[in-house]
């Protein structure tokens, strides 16, 4: 299989910039000799909400990418092109295993509270065709930078990086590296630990907390 290197695609028609990273060579991967690149797609986030300004919309992060790994790799580009970007980790969130994609609990409840602690109907809060809340597609995330100039610098570097690849892809493409301190791949033991039971005391506390919180909300609603 040949790893396709698109010549000249520095930006997609819909405004996303495909940013390649070279993945570490995997000895166990057979029948694939070519160097393998991963593409992250970046775009400035368009939003009327002030909270969302200076935000980058990202599609397709590599597996198990946390804030540290992402910024480590982006900083490698920024360093290369001498940019100045400060990342803000407050809004960064991924759910690549789609664990929180549907809030079944909220949808079944009459006792959800809004930010002002008012009980609201789940239809209002979570769904219905009139629902206007967050609806972020899978495999995407937001990354906030400190300010306007950080954002500008960021895209500046990215664009330079992407353009440089057109001249000599192999020379300029940057390696994707995992942030060693905060991130590690699961081991046999990790996979087997999924079978471990819940500690009884933990469960008791959890039950108590959940029930107390539920009763509070129920009383509040009454």
């Amino acid at each position: 299989m040949s790893d396709y290197k698109p010549k000249g695609v520095t930006v997609m028609k819909n405004g996303f910039i495909p940013v390649p990273f070279k993945l570490e060579k995997q000895e166990k991967l057979l029948n694939t000799t070519k160097k393998i690149n991963h593409y992250i797609y970046l775009k400035k986030h368009q939003s009327s909400n002030n909270k969302d300004e200076n935000t980058i919309f990202i599609y397709n992060l590599p597996l198990l990418t946390n804030f540290e790994t992402l910024t480590l790799n982006l900083n490698n580009i920024i360093k290369e092109y001498k940019g100045q970007v400060i990342f803000d980790n407050t809004s960064f969130k991924t759910d690549e295993f789609k664990i929180e994609s549907i809030d079944l609990n909220g949808l079944s409840s009459d006792y959800i509270l809004d930010e002002e602690n008012n009980t609201i109907n789940p239809k209002q809060a979570m769904g219905g065709s009139e629902y206007k809340g967050e609806n972020r597609p899978y495999n995407t995330t937001f990354l906030k930078v400190l300010d306007q100039s950080s954002l500008k610098s960021f895209f500046n570097c990215i664009n330079k990086y992407v353009k440089s690849l057109n001249k000599d892809f192999d020379k300029h493409v940057i390696d994707w590296t995992l942030h060693k301190e905060t991130s590690k791949m699961p081991t046999l033991t990790d996979f087997q630990n999924f079978y471990n039971p819940l500690p009884v005391q933990y469960l008791k506390d959890l039950v108590l907390d959940t029930m107390t919180y539920f009763q509070d909300r129920e009383n509040y609603a009454k």
């Binding site: 397709n60 495999n139 046999l188």
Partner: protein, 1173 residues
């Protein structure tokens, strides 16, 4: 009293209503049947051009025969031998051949006094047969060549042999002269395997175009090779040439031996052959007359012919019930046949009624042990009042299946054996059940499925036996009396083996067939005297009776004064050393044989392995004893003491789980300090219905199905929280209370809690896992009356685009919490009724798992599909072996066009299927005994699917399919009482997986049909086609899960066993397969575009061999879904949810290399390699 009276009245009304409903249904059904029959009859018609071609040739043939020159009469055997001395034609004398000097009767050849077409072609009831059919032409020997006494001692047989040799010789000359010999060929053959009657077979071969214009013209006019017809020239005798009385079944007509023991012994088969040859024309006339008087008779004959052919019944010796015999029986029943000579069939009957009633008659009457039918085919009989066709009950002095023609003294069933008669009745019984099925259309199973195509489906066990080293011993047994009874060694051998098997297996088999192997050739050259074949081996094909087959004791006569000495001697003689005296519980002392069953050998095989050498010769060899066990041996033995001696259908290990559960059940039920009392504790795990792939073994917690699911319900309460998260925690609180109680009072139990992922998006479910002192584990989930409401509320509240997802969640909830109880109960009950169901189902699951498909299907769906051949037997019997059941499931899957056909299962026990007796009752006694029967019937019918239910299922299917015509969202519609919607268990399967299952079944069926079952095909059958996937992930774990899964390694009796749980429950996870969790996360991450498959039972992976390795291997495969298949590109959108790389500034393709690279690092220490195909 009033109440009971009104109940009776109500029952009466229902009975009448039911009868009306039944008749309406019957009428409706026969109308549909009529249409189907019309279609079928049209399809099997002989092509008109073939008929014309044959008629043309037959005219030519007639001319040729008329042109044969007379030779002479009154010639001695020496003259004849002299004549044929230098000819290529040989006289096909039967054994014992006449000897010159000792043969004082005269031979000769004069032109036939009558040449006529006989058989089905003459009756125009022949059907098109792909392998070709034959036309029978009778050449009647001139009376002047026959003497009154010629019926004796083979004289007529030998005269006829000389006659046919002349025909062959002279015909050859005239074919030569006319130029026809270029493409017309002559051979000898035996009609219906009657070795006394060689016939001259005329066939036609294809020739290349010649320059000879005469031959060219002849070829064009008379070459009939395309029609695949052959013509049999049969020499017959004039009617009444012999005194028929002297050839009755009990008369002796062979008096060659001086042996006193042989003197006067009936020679019924010989008599039959001689007589039937004098009456060919008579029966033709008889059938012809019936055909004229009964409009639908011809069509009924065609139906019968098809029915017989699909079941392998022929007029051949040994089978003895072909289209001719069926037609004669049917014709006779138009004249009577009842106990008082009352008519069974009426001339106005439709072909459906004629056929069905005849089938019913075959089922109801006994022509073998307890009666016979006497018919009268006298064409001149004018006295209508004389009831001459009458069933005689309670006596059959002929000692064989009998339909005796009073007029010709022929036993129409003269070529049948007790066994073939049994088989006939069995098939007739099945057909009658099918014909009586008011609900399901059974036309296909009655007329369209060919049972003979695959013997492995028709029979439960097929045993090939080599007797080449025993032939000398066996031929010693072929004494003069056997010679005159059976006429040939081959026929004797066949009957002898039949008798040994019959006596030895008795009730253990429903029926069996014996096929002498190496007899494929049916024709032989006219230069040869006879067809020579050596019977080096035979094939024994068994249909088992599961109520009897596994019984460990064969009981013989009682040891007391009332038992005849001969009976005891016979028993001892038959069983040899095995016969011993045993005292039974009732105090009786009985001669018996005791057998041992085992996991690999059924009792029946054990008996055969013992008894066949006893009677056929000690050098006998069962050739395929390994292959017979192959399929069953594929099931892993549980690592428990005595596993090897447990028969395959033994459920002991499952009962132990039940027992352990019952103990726990009592304890929990007895807890009276719970906030709400326990109302129900329902086990729903698959061990409770005997379908877990691995048998339950104590402490074998690596078995992925070790924890058996249980549903716990409390008294109803309005206080359950109104929110899923809180509700699940409230349930957990109840279980924590049970936990505390158990810890306090029953420290022999271990308990743990875990999160449960069985309901998508419900992350709050907690299960309580209880490990019992007996070594089993149960996983408790709590069901409340609140759950359903909350799930439905969530669907109502959610965004439209999520509705489908949440509906799926709801279905899953219904599946796991609610339907599971009914499903388990139904499957468990049926498992007891169909003893082979459980092991077959387990093997089927194992097959699916070996092809990495098991995890894609809810196990309920798998179990329902596996039920198909059991509850819907069609033309077959209930599977009597794992092999048979397994192949039938695969066969069903290979044929199932799920896009257009629903699978509707009537989940009832076999005795309820058998409504024959009810039918008899309701037809005969309904009027007299109305109320009693109606109640009886109502109860039964309420269990069976009604027409309206069936129709409702069908409508459901049609509606569901209409909204999903391509099968993208659901494929398998499996409706039954358990799930009327039909899609509860199949709404979440991907189309490519469903298609793969069908494709695999087709491949498997082809493999087996072509190469049979042997070690090589079994291996192929269970090997996954890894090349079909886009990539493969090889998993290697440095641990052995074999023993801890409870599987016995090969070649050992019992391996080291685990005898307790670890002190800390968490230590168990070290012995759990991590593949499951790896795949779970791969699915969550990449599942939108890739289908991952893996083997659920890591220990069963072929790479792990017999579990001796310290490592375990598993495999995960990936299949890219159509959007990105084969490097396809698509427009870039942010909701693609896929790892893609750009192709240009608009399109992207799946970045599969990057995905694989990621997977490598994700499972870095358990992945051995990732291979892209």
């Amino acid at each position: 009293e009033d109440v009971s009276k009104s109940q009776v009245d109500a029952a009466k009304v229902s009975a009448k209503d039911m009868q009306v409903a039944k008749e309406t249904a019957e009428l409706f059904k026969s109308n549909i049947f009529k249409l189907q029959i019309d279609e079928l009859v049209k399809n099997v018609q002989l092509p008109e051009k073939h008929i014309l071609k044959m008629e043309k040739f037959l005219h030519k043939l007639y001319d040729l025969i008329q042109g044969l020159p007379d030779w002479a009469s009154q010639k001695t055997l020496e003259d004849i031998e002299e004549f044929f001395h230098d000819k290529t034609t040989t006289i096909p004398f039967a054994d014992p051949k006449p000897v010159s000097g000792n043969t004082n009767y005269k031979f000769g050849f004069l032109k036939p006094q009558k040449v006529s077409l006989i058989g089905s072609f003459a009756l125009k009831s022949a059907i098109y047969e792909p392998d070709g059919s034959s036309i029978d032409v009778s050449l009647e020997m001139p009376e002047s060549l026959i003497e009154k006494k010629d019926f004796l001692n083979y004289r007529i047989i030998h005269k006829r042999a000389v006659y046919i040799a002349f025909v062959a010789h002279l015909m050859n000359i005239s074919l030569e002269e006319s130029g026809l010999s270029e493409f017309i060929k002559l051979n000898y053959s035996y009609k219906n395997n009657d070795i006394l009657q060689p016939v001259l077979k005329i066939s036609s071969i294809k020739i290349d175009t010649t320059s000879n214009s005469k031959v060219e013209k002849l070829n064009k006019d008379f070459n009939f090779y395309k029609s695949k017809f052959t013509i049999n020239l049969m020499v017959t005798y004039p009617e009444n040439v012999f005194e028929v009385k002297k050839l009755g079944p009990l008369k002796n007509a062979i008096r060659l031996s001086k042996d006193a023991a042989v003197e006067g012994l009936p020679t019924s088969l010989y008599n039959f052959f001689v007589l039937s040859n004098t009456h060919q024309n008579h029966y033709l006339k008889f059938l012809h007359r019936v055909k004229k008087s009964t409009e639908s008779f011809k069509e009924a004959m065609v139906l019968a012919r098809i029915w017989l052919k699909q079941r392998g019944f022929t007029s051949d010796l040994g089978s003895g019930f072909g289209a001719f015999e069926f037609s004669i029986l049917m014709a006779s029943l138009l004249n009577g046949g009842g106990l008082t000579g009352n008519k069974i069939l009426l001339h106005g009957f439709s072909s459906y009624q004629l056929f069905k009633t005849t089938i019913k008659y075959i089922v109801d009457m006994d022509f073998n042990d307890d009666g016979y039918l006497q018919i009268n085919t006298d064409l001149d009989e004018t006295d209508k009042d004389l009831m001459s066709t009458k069933y005689h009950q309670g006596e059959n002095e002929f000692d064989q299946p009998t339909i005796l023609d009073k007029y010709t003294k022929i036993n129409i069933l003269g070529k049948m054996t007790t066994q073939s008669y049994k088989a006939l009745k069995l098939h007739a019984r099945n057909t009658l059940i099918a014909l009586n099925d008011q609900v399901k259309d059974q036309f296909e199973s009655i007329f369209l499925s060919n049972l003979n195509k695959n013997q492995l489906l028709k029979f439960d066990m097929i045993v090939d036996v080599d007797i080449s080293q025993c032939l000398l011993t066996l031929s010693d047994k072929f004494t003069p009396s056997e010679k005159i009874t059976y006429l040939s060694f081959e026929n004797y051998l066949y009957n002898y083996i039949c008798k040994v098997v019959e006596k030895s297996l008795d009730e253990r088999v429903q029926t069996f067939e014996i096929e002498l192997l190496g007899n494929n050739r049916k024709v032989f050259d006219i230069s040869k005297r006879k067809l020579n074949h050596k019977n080096n081996s035979f094939r024994l094909k068994l249909v088992l009776d599961l109520d009897e087959s596994e019984k460990l004791v064969t009981k013989g006569p009682k040891k007391d004064e009332s038992t005849a000495k001969e009976e005891i001697a016979e028993f001892k003689n038959h069983w040899g050393d095995k016969a011993s005296l045993r005292r039974f519980k009732d105090g009786s002392v009985v001669y018996s044989c005791v057998w041992t069953g085992s996991s690999s050998n059924s009792v029946v095989l054990n008996i055969l392995e013992y008894i066949l050498p006893q009677h056929l010769g000690s050098n006998l060899k069962i050739m395929n004893s390994k292959d017979i066990k192959l399929v069953a041996n594929h099931l892993k033995l549980p690592n428990v003491p005595g596993a090897k001696t447990q028969s395959i259908s033994n459920l002991t290990n499952f009962f132990k789980v039940k027992k352990s559960f019952d103990e726990l059940y009592k304890i929990i039920f007895g807890m009276n300090d719970l906030p709400l009392a326990v109302r129900n504790i329902q086990p729903i795990g698959n061990a409770f219905r005997y379908t877990s792939v691995l048998q339950p073994v104590p402490f074998a917690y690596s078995n992925p199905e070790f924890l058996q699911d249980v549903i716990l319900e409390f008294e109803s309460s309005s206080k359950w929280p109104d929110e899923i998260g809180a509700l699940e925690k409230a349930k957990a609180a109840f279980m924590l209370k049970i936990h505390d109680n158990l810890v306090k009072d029953h420290s022999e139990y271990k308990i743990s809690f875990s999160r449960d992922e069985s309901i998508p998006y419900n992350l709050e479910v907690i299960t309580m896992n209880v490990y019992t002192p007996e070594g089993f584990g149960f996983k408790f989930r709590v069901l409340t009356e609140r759950d359903e409401i909350l799930y439905l509320r969530a669907i109502d509240n959610c965004r439209n685009d999520l509705k489908k997802e949440l509906e799926n969640t709801f279905l899953k909830f219904i599946q796991v919490y609610k339907n599971s109880v009914l499903h388990t109960r139904v499957i468990e009950t049926l498992s007891h009724s169909y003893p082979m169901y459980a092991p077959t189902c387990r093997l089927f699951k194992q097959w699916l798992d070996s092809h990495l498909l098991l995890t894609h299907f809810p196990e309920e769906l798998v179990e329902l599909i596996a039920m198909q051949p059991f509850v819907d037997q069609g033309a077959y019997q209930q599977p009597g072996s794992v092999q048979n059941g397994f192949l039938k499931i695969i066969k069903f899957l290979s044929k199932w066009n799920w896009l257009e056909e629903p699978l509707i299962l009537d989940l009832i026990k076999p005795d309820e299927v058998d409504e024959l007796n009810d039918d008899k009752k309701s037809e005969n006694d309904e009027m007299e005994n109305e109320s009693e029967i109606s109640e009886y019937n109502l109860k039964k019918l309420s269990e069976k699917l009604s027409i309206s239910q069936y129709k409702e299922f069908q409508t459901n299917f049609e509606e569901t399919r209409r909204s999903n015509p391509t099968g993208l969202n659901f494929q398998f519609f499996v409706a039954s009482r358990v799930d009327p919607t039909g899609i509860l268990y199949s709404s979440d399967i991907s189309l490519s997986i469903a298609t793969r299952l069908t494709a695999l079944s087709k491949i498997a069926m082809n493999l087996i049909s072509q190469h049979g079952l042997n070690e090589r095909t079994m291996k192929l059958l269970f090997s996954p086609g890894l090349k079909d996937y886009d990539f493969i992930i090889n998993v290697k774990i440095p641990k052995n899960f074999y023993t801890s899964s409870g599987i016995m390694k090969n070649f050992k009796n019992v391996d080291e066993m685990i005898t307790n749980f670890p002190d800390e429950i968490s230590q168990m996870s070290e012995k759990m397969d991590p593949t499951y969790h790896l795949v779970k996360y791969l699915n969550k991450k990449y599942g939108t575009h890739i289908i991952f498959s893996h083997q659920k039972f890591i220990s069963l992976n072929a790479k792990n061999g017999s579990g001796e390795d310290n490592c375990s291997y598993n495999v995960i495969t990936g299949l890219i879904k159509p959007l990105f298949k084969n490097g396809a590109s698509t427009k870039f959108r942010i909701n693609l949810d896929a790892d893609v790389k750009p192709v240009d500034d608009v399109n992207v393709q799946l970045n599969i290399a990057a995905i694989l690279s990621e997977i490598c690092s994700f499972g870095f220490d358990i992945i051995e390699s990732v291979v892209k195909n």
